[in-house]
Symmetry: C2
Subunit: 261 residues, 2 copies
């Protein structure tokens, strides 16, 4: 698989060399890479070229850059595995809480209750709920786990106004449950979808990650028991923080099952 056409840019060849050193254990997991000036001197290239190479490795989640400290080799990602069962519909990020270690400031927190305008997101929500944007209310929240923002969530419901406490920035709670209570109904899953996108400027700010960080997007509609769509939810989850697992068999077979990778 032609990995080195003659015109491969310098920074990419450099990135590959660094990757090889990491694979070979020259720079083991957790180790600090040589500083930018050091690499610049060793390879005889400008510091900006080094930065471009390292930036590629960071985007590929191979290294972690800590400002003022150094660049470190990431350990093979230990991801939180979230067991879910689509048949019993236990299937929400809320259930993650119990699965994660420690955590003082954990929970879901309201960020804002922005007006529903004609934005692309709002239009999509309206389409999915079979309403017009004007009929919808919206709440945005962030889910914090282990002291870090892990997921940015947006909810749309076809009624309003919402209870004041649900729209107060900083309010803590489970918004799915709170919204269902506000509507006075039970909620069931209608459908859920998975996708992957890069963090846009707003997501990046909310989650405290660089723009373009891969996010796992989970969106879907919940409805009342008689099938009326009542909630459109769209969650952007830091890709390195979560993994959703679907089990299709009642009992695990011989394999050790999906565990941290």
């Amino acid at each position: 698989m032609a990995t080195n056409t003659p015109n491969t840019p310098l920074y990419r060849r450099l990135a590959r060399q660094l990757q090889e050193r990491i694979d070979a254990g020259t720079y083991p997991a957790g180790a600090r890479l040589p500083s930018e000036p050091e690499l610049s001197a060793e390879f005889g290239v400008h510091r900006l070229t080094v930065r471009q190479a390292v930036a590629e490795l960071e985007r590929a989640a191979v290294v972690e850059i800590r400002r003022g400290v150094g660049t470190f080799v990431r350990p093979p990602a230990v991801r939180v595995s979230i067991a879910v069962d689509p048949r019993s519909q236990r299937f929400d990020l809320g259930s993650v809480h119990a699965a994660l270690p420690d955590g003082t400031e954990d929970g879901e927190f309201v960020v804002a209750a922005p007006p529903v305008t004609g934005s692309a997101e709002d239009e999509e929500a309206a389409r999915q709920l079979g309403r017009t944007p004007g009929e919808l209310s919206r709440v945005d929240s962030v889910i914090r786990l282990g002291g870090r923002a892990r997921a940015a969530c947006s909810y749309w419901v076809p009624f309003g106004p919402l209870p004041a406490e649900l729209t107060r920035p900083g309010h803590a709670g489970n918004l799915v449950l709170d919204l269902a209570r506000a509507a006075g109904v039970e909620l069931e899953y209608d459908w859920r979808a998975f996708g992957a996108i890069g963090a846009d400027l707003a997501d990046a700010e909310l989650l405290g990650v660089p723009v373009g960080t891969p996010l796992l997007v989970r969106e879907g509609v919940s409805c009342t028991p008689d099938g009326a769509p009542l909630l459109y939810v769209r969650r952007r989850i830091d890709g390195s923080s979560a993994r959703f697992v679907l089990h299709f068999r009642e009992h695990p077979p011989q394999g050790s099952g999906p565990s941290g990778s």
Copy 2:
């Protein structure tokens, strides 16, 4: 949500300004942005600073950069929606074929049958199958749809050697079916997981996307009807190409259902 602390870097403020113009329709979908020298002159900053701002918008999939041509505003992503039903286990990217428009060179193609060494991926596969790396065989493939590589796939099975045709680069087929046939058994889903990562150097090359492009990762184990794990598969799918949808209700309610976004 404090969007402009006093020390916001120039390139980010520039990115936001460009984003605002796009949102406002000053640069509508499909339109070409002013060239880098033009933006550089308009905002009185160096061209590299402009590039940094535009690069952020590209990572966020807001614009598409075409070398030698220009930078263009992306239309709101129209994504292929893949309906799946976990209960009936119709749940494979192979089923996408019928759902996509046109396509001359479509299909799944063997890329390589790399030896199973002690790499992190191989170790993970061995753990999931309850074997040692030495007992496994591996095949890598690419799925092409509409003339573009959409997914990079890796398969591990606890037997070998594989039939020669399955390891010949360029071979076209359905590897899941081919491998099951080679093993002489039926396959069932054990579990599947979803995650999001950035394309590493190898994935980026296979898929023809920039390093760091958000990929939807779908991995899992399939087993024989009596529960013996027989296949570990890991797919990296271009995030802008696919979306997986899970339906929890038999019949769609009032809502129009999950459609292209």
